[in-house]
Amino acid sequence: MSNKSFRQAINEALAQEMRRDPAVIVMGEDNAGGLGAPGEDDAWGGVLGVTKGLMPEFGRERVLDTPISESAFIGAAVGAAATGLRPVAELMFVDFMGVCFDQIFNQAGKFKYMFGGKAVTPLVVRTMFGAGFRAASQHSQCLYPIFTHIPGLKVVIPSSPYEAKGLMIQAIRDDDPVIFLEHKVMYDDEEEVPDEPYTIPFGEANLTREGGDVTIVAFGRMVQFSNQVADKLEKEGISCTVVDPRTTSPLDTDTILECVADTGRLVVVDEANPRCNMATDISALVAQEAFGALKAPIKMVTPPHTPVPFSPQLEDLYIPTPEKIEAAVRAVAGA
């Protein structure tokens, strides 16, 4: 056990799985960096350094730099997965899914079903998401509801370094295609993370706080904000359960419904745009399955229905904040 960043936790998961299984390969734009260039080799290790050091250990045959050509290399990762490798392909920013989505949703996600159950596609697509980097509209989106919508895909959103390592190892060992979403603001977050490999199963929510008054369901970075709110309100006598589902597909609906049955009050915090996102999905679930348990209308905390703005002042208004979450919790608690 030692203190590790979100970045180090993912890097360690990749390295340990590559040592364990020679079929695991890593590919993406500048995953090592400097290929064919006169300067340093392993120059970047990925644009934010997550894959740094893998190429020197495993060689360029297993750490493949790619052209900026997502359709081809994400598709190649799908084809490689269907024929015997376990590729971890990096889609640098999830916003770039627009140029390669066919290979993810029409190919990888459907092989097993279309081919009568006979295809196995153990693919991981690692991708960076989320606002807060002043990266503007095309480098800041969440988009995980779109992947969640597709049968055949699994969708993972780690909320801390410990979660990231265990979920990444699970993703690599999983036999279905997995979209693994890393919030770009969290790479330098640190906590105690075991040195040895471990897995965290998909579809099993984690309760990061437990309390009797209000259930907060949140994803990724929003789990951290929700924990802050829960800790603050606890001192005022409003006790919250914070549910981190960890994966949006599969979704641990049982735990969400149990928590709502206990508290009777629900706030869903989702950094994705508000139409057809996880907040609407979970709200619909609870309205349909646990309406009788509700003591107050459900509250959703989301950004507005706009692209992510560039200006720091506007972006700060866009992102759900602890203050907005707190207001929603107070509203349902007081209702």
């Binding site: 359709s71 081809a72 269907a82 097993k112 279309m114 009568g116 159950g117 006979k118």
Partner: protein
């Protein structure tokens, strides 16, 4: 490598099986027995068979929406294919894929594909697997003249080149992307496109099995020996429309009749092997009769086969969930 008598008989049998299969699907579709969209490969047999005769169990192919011929050429079971096209439970894909997604990974057939240009990136991945695991395998992407204009295809040319992958891109140019002439829709030439990406490109007469076979043999050997990707531009004709039900009003009057008369891959094959005294007409006629019986059985069994049931709707989405 010289083709043996057995090879020639197999080539003819595969081509005849494709032709009989497709002609029969055409008839049965017209009668209303087959659901959905069907795109037929009749007329293009020499390409699929000429290429796949050079492949073995290590090798993978990815196909197009016009995929029945590639399936048969790579060794898929025609009866299971027919059941799939009929949407039956015992079909090659349990009735869940249909004509456009017919696949048999155990035969190295990675699927027909409903997305034009969907296959080439997948084939780069299959080739990457072969290269990484050192299987000695080669991967072949069949793509039409329409698919040759997709970004996925052109990106795959580049990726296969820079990763030096054992890939053969086979552009089957039947003259039409749906209704639009390839003479209009393709900028530059397929061969020059290949050369621009640093790989050999070869133009091939796709009506002539022997021309395709020879060109593919060189391309497959090139890939297998580690020299990387190459491209075959195979010019051929389709006997039917883009899909079944296409009235083909965009084609010239008498065009199909003429090409059936003058440029039919099966007729050309028969003439060549007979004139060269490689095979006897009687042997070929015998194959024709056997294939006809096989396809008759395939249709009869498909019509009689049970459809999937409600219990099949929810299975096969995930390995575990």
């Amino acid at each position: 490598m010289q083709l043996s008598r057995e090879d020639l008989l197999k080539a003819y049998r595969d081509m005849r099986t494709i032709r009989e299969f497709e002609d029969r699907v055409h008839d049965e579709f017209a009668k209303g027995g087959i659901p959905g969209f069907v795109h037929l490969y009749a007329g293009e047999e020499a390409s699929g068979v000429g290429v796949c005769m050079n492949l073995d169990d290590r090798d993978k192919i990815a196909s197009t929406h016009r995929g029945h011929g590639h399936c048969i050429a790579k060794g898929c079971d025609p009866k299971a294919m027919m059941k799939e096209i009929y949407g039956k439970r015992d079909g090659l894909c349990g009735g869940k894929g249909g004509s456009m997604h017919i696949a048999d990974l155990s035969r190295g057939m990675m699927g027909a594909n409903g997305i034009v240009g969907g296959g080439p990136p997948l084939v780069c991945g299959a080739a990457l697997t072969a290269k990484t695991l050192k299987t000695g395998g080669v991967a072949v992407a069949f793509v039409g003249d329409g698919g040759s204009n997709q970004g996925t295809t052109l990106e795959s040319y580049n990726l296969a080149r820079v990763w030096n992958l054992p890939v053969v891109f086979v552009v089957e140019d039947n003259g039409y992307a749906e209704t639009t002439a390839s003479a209009w829709s393709v900028g530059g030439s397929q061969k020059k496109r290949a050369e621009a990406f640093g790989m050999p490109g070869t133009e091939v007469d796709g009506h002539d099995f022997f021309a395709v076979y020879d060109a593919a043999r060189q391309a497959v050997e090139f890939a297998r020996s580690g020299d990387g990707p190459s491209l075959l531009h195979v010019k051929l004709d389709r006997h039917y429309g883009h899909f079944e039900g296409d009235a083909m009003t965009y084609r010239a009057e008498g065009e199909v009749e003429k090409l059936r008369q003058d440029r039919d891959a099966l007729k050309i094959f028969r003439t060549k092997v007979s004139e060269a005294k490689l095979l006897e007409t009687g042997q070929l006629d015998e194959i024709d009769a056997e294939v006809k019986e096989l396809i008759d059985q395939a249709v009869a069994e498909s019509e009689a086969a049970p459809p999937p049931g409600e219990e099949d709707l929810l299975t096969d989405v995930y390995v575990s969930y």
